[in-house]
Symmetry: D2
Subunit: 381 residues, 4 copies
């Protein structure tokens, strides 16, 4: 399916960095869901570059034009087409070094797959800019989930060597408070620890000023999912969330709950004891399995972390190959690049997760889950 | 799609731990591929329990019965049905504790999804035993890949606190030698470091003797893949391999190449410089990106590690819930369980990866890739 | 997807005519649905040959063995594997003429696709026998639909030049009575006009006695579907029912409602006027559009007819090609063949339609539609 | 998948009749295929209304804007987004009768599915206008097929009671000449018999002048397909072509080759004898099976006919229901409508078939079939 994700709720993304537009078609939304363009604009704004030494100097308004599927502020039930025109393109920057493969980037693999016909300007279809369509479409689902009482939020767990406070994995109430806190923080980085922001920014700027870049770790929480969502094997909740997460450029790893830490735990430490809470609901005393047992949700929060590698486009001189000449060469990249994409990727990861979860809910509750009464999922859980 | 994986090369798995049979239907194999039943038997043997204090005392021959799709030792091109009858089932062990949810297991989520109609005996469809079908079907693909010059192998990178030698990520020749070494090791654990085997076994047995279990990390290498395989976004090679890896019960994390280590690297360290080798091929000097740039293979080895959590079924007393009574309870599991499934899961991960790669090759080269001349993929790369 | 049908409710079929077994895996049934083996046996019996001069002398009991997914007479929610072992195979009949391509059959196309590795015995995977798996799996869905108040039934509209009474397309009550009548007719052909049966049988026997075969037309009705099922374009109800119907070997045409007759109607004759009935429901005064407008059901009965070509395997001498020799030749078929498969195909068409409708209901109402209260779909309509 | 068709070569369509734009995303084209905008414009022109009493007075230029996936006249290998802005919309015509369900149209089913949130203006997403995206995307595939030596063409077999000369089903050379003739006919209706055009137009105008509409039959031929394409059961060539054909609004039946005529043939008449031709190729002496045996192509031309019902929007007064009031009412439609859409639908059917065939070729030959040498498919056949 290449550029389409989902079976029942499907997103198809399109566009190239320096082409006419990027965007997406979202198909499978029930009719009648509110589409809050101001909310979508805030999502787009969260992934927008600011040209502040923390992200690329290519700054665009990224206004979403809705070509179909929405009328009078509500979904019509048919495909929603979202177009974001490219404005601030300076392809000349790339032309100078077009023959030289940028290490860590998809320049060479694009040649191998597309035989030179790819639109290489600004990374073309491999550019992080393509995630604008993912945010536009995923943002609509994110809002529908929120209306259903299911919240998805992502913070920067670690970046440029600076740590944030971890999500309260084992404590749904504390986690809910953290999500509320992130929601209120409309400026700056998605961090729980306000004291981490300046040191993190400083560390990113420091790397950027050396012509280098840094990576980091994003942590996402999904709160309010009922138990019983997902499939035992190939469509386990982990499988589908991971599938989606690795669609985000630069993600190279994902772990759920205790994650790689499980390697050094014993079963008696790793198992989450079941408990009956005061209202007769089944919960777990800990949540190392991140709300998923046997691929299926158990009603506890779903939590995962991804690692985002350092932006491959750096200004430092690098060894590489002149592709047409097939000889070794030295590359100094010009153009405008982010010293770190981790902060901008947070909203992308939330939107990606929303699409995956939305598709699961379609499978379980049918195409109309977005219109179920507000309390439905809470009662199900 | 629930229990089916793949778009062009598809595996559908079925069965329950204590039902009549487990198995799989593999559809999409080209006609005329040799099916070496002795090789399949060795794959099945590698995931087989041995009742030696290292794995469950439930020991079965796991003979594969081929119901369709193979004639005179070759694929016919139509669906291959593989059935493994269950023999050594002792459901009585489970009946005693059927009301009690086993922590870390899918008992509760199965109730949430299947409302009590699930076959709960021995974990039913959630049992690791279902991976027998995955190995049976994936083994056929593994052999087809090997004939095409593409090798997939998995070793135990870490288990019960004992480490093996890592795969030689940056050096394809050294890695090929490691794969050859693993191939020759037909007995015991899949380890590169012979000296690690006894300490690892001892540590597993120690945990088992305490009624506990341990987890670990598996590392898989894919060698010989040409450049240009995969898709930029949703069907990135990482996405599909991760989707498949999380289908394996107990896997809770995956990382490619430098993986979570990328969080603390700078771009100048993380980028793999391109080089032209002596025969004019483009390679990379290092391989931290694990042979994948922008979701597409670059011809270098693909490498990933998964974390396998400790077996949830332990003999130690645990806190849990009596599901019908909806009250807190104490559980002491009987039955037969593995103190560690990591060693048995190695072949499962190789077979899972083979299915994912086989499907990618169908998309790129058509349904007949298995019958392309032996040298085709090497020349493509 | 080759041998798998459906997105949410999926059937995978397997087997060869003279192999060990044929069968199917049905995935996506909700847990807790009753599986009435006696009903399934009746479905299988309806497509069974009888060796009575009307169908092939290859007579088999076709007992279904359930390998997984059903426990204590109810679905568990996980894949249901249905195996029917082949018993009465006489491959020798085919060996004599194996080099000669049977006209109208898939012998040549199998060579073109499978390069000689196909299992050619008895038509292999192209045999009508493979529909046994379709009936086994589809029968389970047919029963689930019936429990939900949705009835599917097929009769022989025309065969060997003899006509049956048409379904009462425009009158749901009369149609319901016809379906009840067909249900009670457990012996002989699926006909509304009892007086047509003997002439039809005589005409089939006459063709058979001349070493020839005949075709016919099947008519299927789906009663009780609520309005609002289906999709506007690619997954129109007609699209998916047709996709499924053409999976049945020998089907070469399908038409809905007035069908090809629409070519000679005017819009004023073809449009079905909407009416409000006595209980305030919207119906149509006529039903030439067969319950489907714009690809979506309108609550009126869905009706379609397929044409089934005459069985290609005939005893009359035919002109053909010796494939290995690549020269023209003359063929006289031996073996056991049906002079007409239309009567046996009726249940196949009902089961096929059930699978398509079941998948649509999953998309609309979620995986649990089979467990919705009996009156749900009536109220929806 | 709702509005997406295809597994490897995928088209997603979007838009509403009176919304901002209609269009499509075509994903899966190999890189480097020429995109001839003049050819696409001719395809669009062939489905364009002319306001000449034969089609609706809503006349639009239907210029295709390519938003992504094409650079310097060639495909880049990534998704191709095609947008056609709506210009000549007069929603006011509809507002007057918005409460009244148009018989034969999707007004009621849209209510049932979308609960009143659908964009009802001009039929919204159910309008024939949405096929503009299908033609834009399918046209690109049509051109790629033609470059590969595979031709698809559709003529009006019958319309308003006037017949055209049938395609020369049994004679590939004569059929090729017919296709060449149609290709040269760039003006007026797609007819082989020039003498039929004026009577056909007169009959359409006559119906239109009475405020009525007429239907007809389209016939499509696919020439140059190699043998061996398609799958035995669910993805038979008939299944997938039919699936696609029923996506076209107003299509209510499809038949291949002898089609419904098979009901009255005997096997000895229906079977196409195999023959070896002068260059050693296997062909059939007749072609009643329309180039498909067992769901798979045999190298002979593929032929099918669809019936297109009379346009449901007619000016004659009709009985219907006032939906909000739930009471019977009388409807007189205003707005601009085609008295017959058959002539405009011919190119839609060719483009739809091209998409289906293109997807099959991806499955068989991989994503790069469009770039195989010109003679490849001829040699395969």
């Amino acid at each position: 399916m290449k550029n389409t994700f989902g079976s029942n709720l499907c997103l198809t993304i399109f566009g190239e960095s320096h082409g006419r537009a990027v965007g997406a078609v979202l198909d499978g939304m029930a009719a009648g869901c509110p589409v809050d363009e101001a909310f979508l604009a805030r999502c787009m704004d969260a992934r927008r570059a600011r040209g502040d030494g923390l992200s690329t100097a290519r700054v665009e308004a990224d206004a979403i034009q809705i070509l179909s599927g929405v009328r009078e502020g509500r979904t019509t039930g048919t495909p929603i087409t979202l177009m974001i025109e490219n404005q601030n393109t300076r392809s000349g920057d790339y032309a100078r070094t077009a023959a030289l493969l940028r290490p860590g980037h998809a320049d060479y693999t694009a040649y191998a797959k597309y035989h030179g016909f790819q639109d290489a300007r600004g990374g073309g279809h491999f550019s992080g800019r393509i995630t604008a369509g993912l945010v536009a479409g995923g943002g609509i689902v994110l809002a529908a989930l929120e209306q259903a009482g299911i919240q998805i939020s992502t913070h920067i767990r670690r970046c440029a060597g600076v740590e944030d406070i971890p999500f309260a994995q084992d404590d749904p109430a504390a986690l809910a408070a953290q999500l509320a806190q992130l929601k209120q923080k409309t400026e700056g980085f998605a961090l729980l620890d306000g004291a981490a922001e300046e040191p993190m920014k400083a560390a990113i700027r420091a790397a950027g000023s050396e012509g280098d870049s840094v990576g980091g770790i994003l942590e996402t929480a999904i709160l309010g999912l009922p138990a019983g969502v997902g499939e035992p094997f190939f469509d386990s909740v982990e499988s589908v969330l991971a599938h989606m997460a690795f669609s985000i450029p630069a993600v190279k790893g994902i772990e759920f709950g205790a994650g790689f830490g499980f390697a050094d735990l014993r079963g008696s430490q790793a198992n989450d004891p079941f408990r009956v809470d005061e209202v007769g609901r089944i919960t777990t005393a800990t949540n190392q399995n991140a709300g998923i047992n046997g691929g299926i949700t158990n009603g506890m929060p779903v939590l995962f972390r991804t690692v985002v590698k350092p932006t491959p486009s750096i200004y430092k001189e690098q060894q590489t190959v002149d592709y047409p000449a097939r000889e070794n060469a030295t590359l100094s990249i010009h153009g405008r690049h982010d010293p770190c994409i981790v902060p901008r990727a947070a909203i992308v990861q939330s939107c990606a997760a929303a699409l995956a979860i939305g598709d699961f809910l379609c499978a379980r509750y049918g195409e109309g889950w977005m219109t179920l009464p507000h309390t439905f999922f809470q009662e199900e859980g």
